[in-house]
Symmetry: D2
Subunit: 338 residues, 4 copies
């Protein structure tokens, strides 16, 4: 069930709807929009009787939800969500560029990259302190020490920090040191973890699983939002296919597919999405041209010696070229209002 308020509904009208929902034993989710507020209802086992709401002051409509998701839906908020991440936003007119190394290796490594990222004009910095590695014997990240280095990057360069958490302890730490909690592709259906980050008040960057369908991705976001955290950014990072020319198959068609049904912003990761240095720039351009709200890019000052994913990292110079190219496309498309 979804309650759409009239454009002129008062705060008291809204308050009364919320009270009614809670009295019925359900959970209300208020999403104010540009022209009207809508309130999603979760926690109901069966269907909710619209009669409870239809005649309440300020209520425009009580709509039964037929799709598997509620809170991610444009039915709830017709215009795109703009998510605040630290001092900047993702989902607005400006392209959100998140750049940085795959893994935090050392203070010097991180700072040399952060300098280039700040210079480009990007507002977000990425870097992993907890690394989900296929092998237990591979470098697993520097943990809290890495997060402290990231916090210094924010202090020094004013960049907002996006970094992954793999479990509850990690979420607590990223909440403390970072600005946005990344949930990796392998944890996209770690439902316990999704519920946990749903209870934090930090925005969440949710990466699509390697074989996740559109609905599975949207419902993973729904898990987070159902707990009360509505600041979710989706990320396409490549799917598993039979192909071998790239490490993954970057499925850009999911960007218009998401925008078609959801108000959530979506960014593209051409670094993991291709795994090949020479493909990152063209696929980043394609990601912006298709209408993504931003990009997440791996940059390393010395890709050959990266402890993780060196084959896909750009040098700072390549990154600056990429930044220029994608801005050119973004500018070219602005007047067309894609």
């Amino acid at each position: 069930m979804l309650i759409v308020m009239k454009p002129d509904a008062t705060p008291t009208d809204i308050e009364r709807v919320l009270e009614t929902i809670e009295k019925l034993g359900y959970k209300p989710h208020t999403l104010p929009g540009a022209n009207r507020t809508a309130i999603g209802i979760t926690g109901n086992d069966g269907s909710v009787d619209p009669a409870h709401f239809e005649n309440m002051p300020g209520v425009a409509d009580a709509i039964r939800v037929t799709k598997p998701y509620k809170l991610i839906s444009k039915d709830l908020r017709p215009e795109k969500s703009v998510v605040k991440v630290g001092t900047a936003t993702i989902g607005g007119d400006e392209l959100a560029i998140i750049a940085g190394p795959c893994a935090i290796e050392s203070f010097d490594q991180v700072f040399s990259v952060a300098e280039a990222v700040a210079e480009s004009g990007a507002k977000f910095f990425r870097g992993g302190a907890f690394k989900p590695r296929t092998s237990p014997y591979a470098f697993q990240g520097k943990g809290e020490e890495g997060l402290r280095i990231l916090a210094q990057v924010r202090d020094q360069f004013g960049l907002n920090i996006v970094t992954e958490a793999m479990d509850e302890r990690g979420v607590d730490l990223v909440e403390k040191y970072g600005d946005c909690i990344q949930i990796g592709a392998r944890n996209m259906q770690n439902f316990s973890l999704l519920k946990y980050v749903g209870k934090t008040r930090k925005p969440v960057l949710l990466k699509r699983g390697l074989s996740a369908t559109l609905d599975e991705l949207l419902l993973a976001a729904e898990y987070i939002m159902a707990e009360g955290n509505y600041d979710v950014i989706l990320c396409e990072r490549g799917i598993r296919s039979f192909g071998t020319h790239a490490r993954n198959t970057l499925d850009l068609s999911i960007v218009p597919a998401i925008h078609n049904v959801s108000h959530l912003p979506v960014i593209v990761d051409p670094s993991h999405g291709t795994g090949r240095n020479y493909m990152v720039k063209p696929m980043a351009r394609a990601g912006v041209a298709v209408g993504a709200d931003g990009l997440i890019i791996e940059v390393h000052s010395n890709p050959d010696q990266a402890l993780c994913d060196g084959a896909q990292a750009l040098t700072p110079r390549q990154y600056l070229e990429l930044f220029k190219e994608v801005q050119a496309i973004h500018q070219a498309l602005l007047p067309i209002a894609v």
Copy 2:
């Protein structure tokens, strides 16, 4: 590094090797085999010098490991592992049949199925108390109450309980009530959870992720074993493909592929692997014919009213037919010693 002891090595010889490994700051993993004991070494950053071990009494060989995995490997234990689960085993000559409902719904539902399972002669009972569901609004399982019902099934029927855990709290509870901790396909690369179950002393049933390669599956098992829990059973449960005639594509070729490189037992799940009632029996037969060490089968006394995955559940009668058919194949292949 892998230390192979001579067949006549004494406990003292083995003890000395373990001490040497620990003195070097590494972690030893002792896997006694039918003819000889081998000791895997983990925790080393670079390569280990074989000279430390080559001249020690009882040592037959010190072998450098070139593959990405160590402990799952037949290099460490050439014969298949037989894993003890409660009062029975998986991996030996007998086919291990694990049967039961998808989700624990009620005492009556569970007991009516358990009766059929016990009657068939199967030694393991399955049933989910924690259900990883694509939607946050779907039935999430009965939690600890469900586990208590499962414990009663064990008491009443002598069946050993295999049940899924989705997070650390769940692992603690399954350790308390069950006999085998199942890690689901969606958590196969939830590395924090793998490490956590690696520290328990209950056997682990590890299901292959929907798009996991052979190496990714083996390395997920390696995560568990590297923590000291060597009782791992692998499970093929269908992969994602373009196909639509079944819910997943049951990839039976991974059974000989696993047996080719690993000593771990592997079972097949034709219920999730097909998602279609009418395919479960033929694919169960195929799973046994290909050489799997067992099957995990969903049975429901009233599939039409199942809260979860009813389309793939067998009735008790269908299950008993399946049991008879797979035993016929198992018997037919015994003299051939496949």
Copy 3:
């Protein structure tokens, strides 16, 4: 539209129905079954009015077809089709084993393999004279010379010859020298070629394309049958997936899926389906256990020196073991009447 005749319909009744169909400008397809004859109608643009047939003598029912296929359907013939191939059959109680080398290389190579195949008791011999090779620079087959060698195999050993044609000229030659025309996976949707073999009177072995869905495979068979050739045998030979432990992913679940909707027999190709010598036996066993009507197996007297697909070819000795194992399974399942 599908006309089902009464069990006691006379040849004259049937003849009249055929005449009526032809008078309407359509094409009748008569498929006599065990208990009744059914007549499929193709060539109609829109729907056919059942009133034309309902009151005709001997007509039991005139059924509108709602599925995309007509002639492959169990609606037309409820019991499985038994296809005559030379002096033997595929689809009956006996397991059809088709064995031989990937490519015809020389008289000696072919005869040494044919000896083993004949010795096993198999009734079909395979071997490619026209080879669809990924590279234009790879061995393309010996053409008509190869077909002549195959004809000698039939003369000498009484084996029925199954061999691939890639184009119309090839079809004409295979019709002349062989007993069954194989259409390869890469040509499964070469619709011009399907129509062409539909006009021959030799049985056709149609291999599933590497990414063909069930419906696409069935409709490819329908292309052949719509031209009047009803002797089609389907073949699962592995699909493309992300997996790397085998060359393809043998999708055995398509066997019960086909038997669920179609009367056509289906065989399994574990050689191409895995591309790995050590997997052929276990997957052949699984193919028989799942209910396939036969197997097609690559055998080479010297796999290391095969001009084509040596990695998957069995030695004659391995082939004889396989034959014994799959017969054991076939025997074990006979009393169960799978």
Copy 4:
């Protein structure tokens, strides 16, 4: 083997190399480039001795080919090939836009679309006279009558005609009426057909098969070129994956992958690549941004009533918007010289 001539090699030098190749019993393939001519050699069974050529006048180098392909390779022609199609080109600085209906249905339907295509400034018109349809009962195209309508479009609007052939008779007809022979995805590995178009002198648009790897696509082009037809344009049109939000997964990363190893131009088909009207524009933009040499777009004046693929066809108005948007991106990237 590949013979690279010096920049100042004379026609006589080249002639002598060709004669030597032919005398050895091989086939020479001359590809003149911007700075030098290279000559590929095919028809050799084993390796060719470079000593035959190294000391000949005008020869710069004789290079052994280690990759599976020769003629498609940038080793043979380092700069991109510009393929002449009728009165225009594909592969040069200008974006090649090929637009038109899926199938030729009638003179009026075709002319109303052709008007919009000509108005946009596009230089190529598409439309199928022979339609490869999954079902034998679906509309199969108007055949030669359709081709005659296409020839009238060329006469009237000066548009160059790109249209599919499915067999040898079709190739002969397209050669007669059209400007470019399209080989569809389902025929990408119809090697007999590839050889046949390799003997024509019309350019060939070769679409990637639904599950073709990069190498398989390149080797299919190599089949055509090995016969002497070097005017090949590749086309990405979506691959089969598990995804359901689009009909296929448009794999744009293959564009830089092709440009990385081959001199052949490559275009993108966002219509078949997505199968969804609302995705065609964004994916067309992405295709241009990634660096494709052109686009092929389905346009229908009345998509709801199209006999084929209506769900993906753009209206003429949508097509004109798309044209504007992709030109804006093309212009934005020109100064960057992607």
